[in-house]
Amino acid sequence: MENESRAHGLDFEAPIVELENRISELRSFSESSEIDLSGQLEELEKKCEEKKKAIYTHLNPWQRVQIARHPQRPLTSDYIKGFVSDFLELHGDGAYRDDPAIVTGLGRIRGRKVMIVGHRKGRTNPEKVACNFGMPHPEGYRKAMKKMRLAEKFNIPIISFINTAGAFPGIEAEERGQAFVVAKNLQGMASLRVPVIAIVIGEGGSGGAIGIGVADRILMLENSYYSVISPEGCAAILWKDASHAPRAAEILKLTSSDLSRFGIVDEVITEPVGGAHREHREMLQRVEETILRHLDEITDIDPDLRKEQRFRKYMDIGRFADQQEQTLEDRG
């Protein structure tokens, strides 16, 4: 996988990727020729770490968007494989069709029962196509809500992994009521008495993201993004040109640090230096621990109070001015 990761290197990562390549060449040469190059290797590795740190501590929003979309970034399926034991996938929305763009199922995290809900993007090309690149149709949202209601019935906490460019914009999606199912999920998730934790692990694409994202705790990976519109879509509107996406990413304030500052996101999960795609194991461990810590904090709250607190949490989001009727004398 490391080799693959290099093949997918992003532009701004080029100096890191180059060093990583040299290290790996040197190492294999050292191994095959049985010459001890540990001194040089150590030096190169140190240099590589420094480079990573230098680049990754000064990422701009557009670079973070690119990392959030990195093909080697851990996906919902990686987190499930990594720390959800006894995972039993539960398919289907009970109405139309099983949408592969959303995965749902039962499992345990360190012995504790959880209901998993998450966007599924797929890793290989055939998988990606099968999952519609993680862009759900209405049946996907309906499936998620059906499983969340099951969790509610048996008092099982819900963990939602968010990673989508958006709900799919297509003819059939509209015919089957994309707007209506997203709305029903927003309402449905507000009705839940069980704990709900949502984690943006990559892309938080607008309505398609929040459609499984109403939660007691909203967490975000450091290099994920969460936005009302994609940077490309925003650029197309503002400058009639999607190639201005980097500028759009800047002004949309879609990074984890922006949203943490706004009080919209409860916690940012720091990524290993060099991004989650370089250190899956470390990333998975951090996410697992953060989930457990938040579960501990909210599990013992009275269910009705928890629901009430979730309601208050959302009621409190919004920034406006309170003008005591001064501006407009002409309104009759």
Binding site: G170, I171, G177, Q178, G207, Y226, Y314, G318, E325
Partner: protein, 279 residues
């Protein structure tokens, strides 16, 4: 959830122009202006529904002199310091001056057929009726007021923008906020009648507007999630005629009725009387 994606059909949006005669945006026929106004700004030839202001909508639906606006002190802030070609602040100032509105919706207490209600309406003249913090807050507070005072909640939506881009994630979160408020009203047994006008798209449609106990649309309104242009570009194909229209949504089972503007008030009165009277 773009601001442009909800271009209403059949033509670009046009307020009723001044002058004795005017050309209909729907059928392109020359029509007598007074007749159009008399019919609630509906074309007498083809029934094209021209967009109307929030004030006109209140006059059309509420009992005379009963609308008592609430939360009118709420004004938009600029939490992102959003700046593209022009700043959000500039656009707000200009739109406020032009429309006399602070933001894109009005909410108040009113009576309809003598039934006390909480009535809200979005105004598409204000940044395409899009939902930012103020719109979300007014709607959520209005729904809470309806619950507390045991009144039905009536909201007339019209937003091509959906969630307002200029307020970023604050706007997206208004979807969850308004939907959560609807859930509380629902649990309290309150009635919500959602009225959809051209266009209701994106974040507005994918939240409170879709959650009416009864959902009614004006004819030929554009109603949906993704804008037609976005869909066209995504799938690289032409869209079927009538796609995402009120009638399309009725046919696919998402709304309860398509009702002409002139029958809207009497329809509302019937619904309110049915749900709000004992016998």
């Amino acid at each position: 959830m773009s601001e442009k994606q909800g271009e209403p059909r059949p033509n670009r949006r046009r307020d009723v122009p001044s002058g004795l005669w005017m050309r209909c945006s729907g059928c392109s026929k020359m029509i007598y202006r007074n007749l159009v106004v008399e019919r609630g700004n509906v074309c007498p030839e083809c029934s094209f529904h021209f967009p109307i202001s929030s004030d006109e909508r209140i006059r059309l639906l509420c009992d005379p002199e009963t609308f008592d606006e609430q939360f009118k002190e709420l004004a938009p802030a600029d939490p992102l310091q959003f700046e593209a070609r022009r700043t959000y602040r500039e656009r707000l100032d200009e739109t406020q001056k032009k429309t006399g509105l602070l933001d894109a919706c009005l909410v108040g207490l009113a009576e309809i057929g003598e039934v006390p209600v909480v009535f809200g309406v979005s105004d598409s003249r204000f940044l395409m009726g899009s939902m930012g913090s103020v719109v979300g807050e007014k709607i959520a507070r209005g729904i809470e007021m309806a619950r507390e005072q045991n009144r039905p909640f009536i909201f007339v939506s019209g937003s091509g923008g959906g969630a307002r881009m200029d307020e970023g994630m604050f706007s997206l979160m208004q979807m969850a906020k308004t939907s959560a408020a609807i859930q509380r009203l629902h649990e309290a047994g309150g009635l919500f009648v959602s009225i959809l006008t051209n266009p209701t798209m994106g974040g507005a449609m994918a939240s409170f507007a879709a959650l009416g106990d009864v959902i009614i649309a004006e004819p030929k309104a554009l109603i949906g999630f993704a804008g037609p242009n976005v869909i066209k570009q995504t799938i690289n194909a032409e869209l079927p005629s009538g796609f995402q229209s009120s009638e399309f949504n009725l046919e696919h089972g998402f709304i309860d009725q398509v009702v002409d503007r002139q029958q809207m008030r009497s329809t509302l009165i019937r619904i309110l009387a049915y749900f709000c009277q004992e016998a």
